[in-house]
């Protein structure tokens, strides 16, 4: 490590004022603080600081995302080989490798575009590079359909980072969840590529790996897509991409079609466990999203009608299908865009759960509502906090007028 430190010290002048590469100062500083905890000591205020910093917090979220990421890769491969009809003769590692090759370009595009903009912005404002995008950059590949063309992803990332984050002042200042803005941008700009039968299952080869002719039984509709298209008084049995029947258990394990990171409830729960154990995410938000989803699921199921076929799904299945659980664990818990007071967090989370299921069930246009629910509540989070804080303010005013009377 000594040699690396010496090397970094040696190249340091090149990157600072007067050096040849002074334009890359923020990149250099970012690298240096990444590699070595800075020796800077406190100048004012407290003399000791906790070891916890933003890098640690953000990397904890990355760790929590890894199960979803690894399983997502496997599942992309699984769906691919199911579509080709050769899943039975294909090992899990081949499937995972296919998924890795399919997802790698998306991850790279997401990070290169997003971090590139962050670096430029940090350089312009002479600020340190912020860690926020490390998480966003991984969330995006997990929530966009695997067949999204890379150029679309690149545009969506650029749009989201610039217009949802940098214009507001960067990490910590944004109003809307950046990853979801990217997703929403894709969803509304290129609707044909974002839903339907062709979005969620990669049937072509990934970087020359896999590929082949699709089997006759193939249908790429996600379970929620199938539910939305349901006709008749009862819910038709759901099937996977090869036409085999599936149930809630498959959704729980995650071997169904969908965005890479969102299918497996098991992996999402592992991530939730990590986030809650380390205290990085708020259990108040996470718990109340699930509570809200369950409550709305029960209500919808109790008033089930063939007009809204999704109301015929039972409440627990509602939580397992689609992006609901992923949104509850990784999107709603974003502290920057969510409610920040304890009371507010209960309300905020509960309403996300309710609205997600509400959109899913009663809005024919969108088979999935979690994304829109989180974005909508992002907009209302400051209002919720305002009301909660107002209670404190009123208490203070009341106290003052009471003592004034005495």
């Amino acid at each position: 490590m000594k040699a690396l430190k010496n090397f970094m010290d040696k190249i340091s002048p090149t990157f600072h004022e007067g050096g040849k590469l002074a334009k890359l100062q923020s990149v250099y500083d970012g690298m240096e603080t990444f590699l070595f905890t800075p020796n800077t000591t406190s100048r004012s205020g407290v003399h000791i600081h906790d070891a916890n910093d933003m890098k640690r917090t953000m990397s904890t979220v990355i760790v929590a995302l890894i199960p979803c990421l690894l399983f997502g890769m496997y599942n992309v491969g699984l769906q691919h080989y199911l579509a080709l009809g050769t899943a039975e003769h294909t090992g899990w590692f081949t499937m995972w490798l296919f998924g890795l090759l399919a997802m790698l370009p998306v991850i790279i595009v997401s990070y290169v575009v997003g971090l590139g903009i962050e670096f430029i912005s940090a350089q312009i404002h002479h600020k340190e590079i912020q860690e926020g995008y490390l998480v966003t950059g991984l969330l995006i590949p997990l929530i966009v359909p695997i067949n999204t063309p890379l150029w679309m992803t690149a545009i969506a990332v650029a749009f989201a980072v610039i217009f949802a984050k940098e214009v507001f002042g960067g990490t910590g200042m944004n109003i809307f969840n950046v990853a979801l803005v990217a997703r929403a941008f894709l969803f509304f700009s290129y609707p044909s590529k974002m839903s339907g039968d062709l979005a969620f299952v990669k049937t072509s080869s990934a970087l020359g790996f896999g590929g082949g002719t699709v089997s006759d039984a193939f249908s790429g509709a996600t379970p929620l897509g199938q539910v939305a298209a349901n006709v008749g008084d009862t819910l038709q049995p759901l099937h996977d991409v090869a036409g085999n029947a599936i149930g809630t258990m498959d959704a729980f394990l995650g071997t169904i079609a969908g965005s890479p990171g969102e299918t497996s409830m098991v992996c999402i729960l592992i991530g939730a466990f990590i986030l809650l154990l380390t205290g990085v995410a708020s259990w108040r938000v996470m718990g109340s999203v699930f509570a809200g989803g369950l409550v709305m699921g029960f209500i919808a199921h109790a008033c089930a009608t063939p007009t809204y076929p999704a109301s015929m799904l039972d409440p627990l299945a509602q939580l397992c299908y689609g992006g609901f659980a992923f949104a509850a664990v990784f999107m709603a818990t974003d502290p920057v865009t969510g409610a920040r007071t304890h009371t507010g967090q209960y309300i905020y989370g509960f309403l996300i759960g309710v609205i997600a299921i509400l959109i899913r069930v009663y809005n024919g246009g969108y088979p999935e509502g979690a994304m829109l629910a989180v974005l909508l509540m992002n907009a209302f989070a400051p209002l919720i906090d305002h009301c909660v804080v107002s209670a404190n303010i009123n208490r203070r005013l009341k106290r003052a007028s009471r003592t004034a009377k005495e």
Binding site: N39, V46, M54, T278
Partner: protein
């Protein structure tokens, strides 16, 4: 008497606590210093110039607006230097001691307020709002006395105090005559101090339970337009002594501790004495690693120079910690080592119960300054009915109405010290609060 159970906050268990009961004595100081920054809110107008002689207890300077507020010399001798910084701000006044023990006498029977102002003890009190030396024109609603210091490695105030119950009684009697309300004392459940005429409350819970601001907020919060005074029990006893014997005691007991002190111990010393006198021969020598000398505790204290620095108010603690204990730590943010101390659970120490052990911490910030991202971090560290994070944001935005509504009159920078320690975004909360209070005062007055 009521008991308040405070849940928020945290007791940082640092290495270098005092275990011995022996009390060392510092040599008679050759120089002492008074630092105007210690008496916040007083704008100094010098009464003594360099070269003039001064007796112990004689005023060195007075306040520009309220001329009655005096800050006095703790020793007798000659004013050696008046050190000035930017814009001729007085940074310190150094007095060359002449070794005599005579102290200015006051008439204990005279007007309490005038005597307090003249004796210099007035300047050792604080008022809420604004956390400044009290304005003598305002009669306080109540007076709050904290009887314990809950900060890391802080001295036990009952030890610093010694056996001075009769002075405490007298002090309460004097202070009661200066307020329209009551004198409240805040104690730990195991060190209850009571005095006739004062209401004693006990506070259970971690730091900052000993902060007088926290106690005020829980007992009887400060409303807009109200003023309360705040002081510690040691100052209370000094006030009692003044009105009993007619003299102010400038002796103090200093807790000299921290991981870099060989034998952490109490040292008998004089207010404003040189730091070097307190630690002579008692500092660990590990190949000349830089150390940080803090007059006060690690959260609210001031860094002082080991060779030329002086003990600062409230004159009762000196902490010595390493400056950089672990230079060029490789990817410290990714560390899985249980030795890395954090109060958060995203480090591994808590899994092995390491967080209960005493820990050695250095002065590194351990991260870069960021916008506020994590929610609820400040609130967890502040046992007050205040939305700390919203207040900080209002101060940063300098939204006067919001600051007032969210309770800026009730807080002092020290109340945010623990939150500043715990802040993932590494913001300088105490500085922010201080600036907010200053701007607010300017705006209101």
């Amino acid at each position: 008497m009521s008991t308040f159970k405070l849940k928020k906050g945290y007791n940082l268990n640092l290495q270098g606590g005092i275990t011995t009961s022996t009390v060392a004595t510092a040599p008679a100081p050759r120089q002492c210093a008074v630092v105007p920054d210690d008496f916040y809110g007083v704008i100094p107008r010098l009464d003594k110039k360099a070269g003039e002689t001064v007796a112990a207890g004689e005023p060195l300077y007075h306040d520009k607006t309220h001329e009655a507020i005096k800050v006095v010399s703790p020793v007798s001798g000659v004013v050696k230097a008046v050190n000035r910084g930017d814009r001729r701000k007085i940074e310190s006044i150094v007095i060359e001691c002449d070794g005599s023990t005579g102290v200015i006498r006051h008439d204990p029977g005279a007007d309490a307020k005038a005597t307090l102002l003249e004796s210099g003890l007035w300047a050792m009190m604080r008022q809420r709002p604004y956390d400044i030396v009290p304005n003598p024109d305002v009669v306080p609603r109540d007076i709050f006395v904290t009887c314990f210091d809950s900060a890391p490695l802080a001295p036990s105030l009952t030890t610093v105090l010694g056996d001075k119950q009769q002075y405490i009684n007298k002090g309460v009697e004097v202070l009661s005559s200066l307020t329209s309300g009551k004198v409240y004392m805040g104690c730990r459940p195991d060190e209850v101090i009571e005095a006739p005429g004062a209401e004693t409350n006990t506070f259970e819970g971690p730091h900052p339970a000993g902060n007088v601001g926290v106690q005020i907020n829980n007992v009887k919060p400060v409303n807009k337009g109200e003023t309360v005074w705040a002081l510690d029990v040691v100052t209370l006893a000094r006030i009692g002594e003044l009105f009993t014997t007619g003299t102010v005691s400038f002796d103090t007991l200093v807790a000299v501790d921290g991981s870099e002190v060989v034998t952490p111990q109490y040292v008998k010393a004089t207010m404003g004495c040189p730091v070097a006198d307190l630690v002579a021969g008692n500092i660990a020598d590990d190949n000349g690693k830089t150390k940080r000398y803090i007059s006060g505790n690690v959260l609210t204290g001031t860094q002082v120079d080991a060779a030329t620095g002086f003990l600062r108010a409230p004159y009762r603690q000196l902490t010595v910690i390493p400056e950089v204990d672990h230079p060029d730590e490789f990817m410290g943010w990714a560390s899985l080592s249980p030795k890395k101390f954090s109060i958060y659970r995203d480090f591994t120490g808590w899994l092995l119960g390491r967080n209960k052990k005493a820990v050695k911490m250095d002065a590194r910030i351990q991260g870069g300054e960021r916008a506020i991202v994590m929610s609820g971090e400040y609130d967890r560290m502040l046992p007050m009915d205040i939305y700390a994070e919203f207040l900080i944001k209002a101060i940063i935005a300098f939204d006067i109405d919001k600051m007032e509504q969210l309770g800026i009159y009730e807080v002092a920078p020290e109340d945010f010290a623990l939150a500043e320690y715990a802040d993932t975004s590494k913001l300088e909360l105490q500085r922010i609060v201080r600036e907010g209070l200053d701007k607010m005062r300017k705006e209101v007055e």
